[in-house]
Amino acid sequence: MIGFVTTPEISVLVTQAISDAQTSRGLPIFWLLVGVLICSGNHAGMHFIPADDEILSTPLRGNPVLTPRDFPEFNTIIDSLGGLDARIDIPATDIIP
């Protein structure tokens, strides 16, 4: 699974920022990335935020289609995680309690 490994504290802030990007536009919170606790492996205790290219290209709204990348907050949020190149691939088994 491709995504960001970060601290639980930053993970919560990222989820909140994505939430705020929707509510600040008067929208319901219809899409989120939520950090999952890594239970085993080299990053146990950290949070994993899934963020492969397909997830980051999710069609959020239509006419025209908008993906997460089309929101101005996207770069700020990704930068807070170290940029797209900071993503790593971890085994799915690492997040299974």
């Binding site: 699974m1 995504g3 536009r25 008067g26 929208l27 319901p28 919170i29 219809f30 899409w31 989120l32 990335l33 939520v34 999952v36 239970c39 899934p50 492969d52 397909e54 997830i55 999710t58 069609p59 959020l60 709204r61 239509g62 006419n63 025209p64 289609v65 908008l66 089309d70 929101f71 101005p72 799915a92 088994t93 997040i95 299974i96 309690p97």
Partner: protein
Amino acid sequence: MNYSLSNMLGGGFVGGLDPSAKAYINAVVAAGATVTGAQRTAINNFIKAEKDASRYTLIKRLYLPIWGIAAANAIDMVTQSSGTFVGGVTHAAGYIQGNGSTGYFNTNVTPSTLSQTTSSASLTALITQAPSGVGAVTAIGSIDGSDTTKLLEFSHLSGTAIIFRAMSISASGAVQAVVSRASQVGIFVSSREGGDRRIIQRLTSGVSTLVNTTGANAGTVPVTGTYQMLRSGFGGGAAYSDGRYGFFAASLGQTLSQSQAFSLNVKTLWETCTGLTLP
């Protein structure tokens, strides 16, 4: 930011429709989906048929995730409230599909809030492609933490069965039927109504009652949100589904005849709106 104000505030004018259908269509259009005339008619006919048959008041949440965009797929047909997609979910024309590891949908409402009870609860899922593998994954469900006396779910069991657990992981509250994983497709209506517990399956070829039995009430209604493609409260990656789903519903208990008629109405709605055919 290339963002259409009309998409945020508007939605196309929809006239001559049932008020519930009109409200849903307007919400979907406001989310940026295109709703054709045929789709509008199908949605209107579906809701009117449910109302005419006095089933609509039983239905608490309906999701028709066929629009190819998350905002529209997240809208409940009954209340126009929005759930939340999380992680990796594909939004295709006609269905959504979890990635089996991080993707799910949170309805943001609990069975308790929906007035589902130990003697009256129903879950429906339209499945166009069964989850891969043979591991146990949930189509729609809720559980309080890991308390197996406080859960409500319709799931693909490990191996070759499907199961409806109504406030009990086993015993009288749970009913299951042997169905090979590849055949776990079509419309499944699982219901607990009075003393009855049953699962029916509708395919293009017809409708079958997979299991129909009676049992005493057990357990407690969950107060955790109902998820799709994952059972809430279970945690980790063990129960994520990568199946394809075109419709979900949460309602009060239905009789057998109500479930059969409801599933036929859902079939007509989904097939008309998508141009696809139920397996």
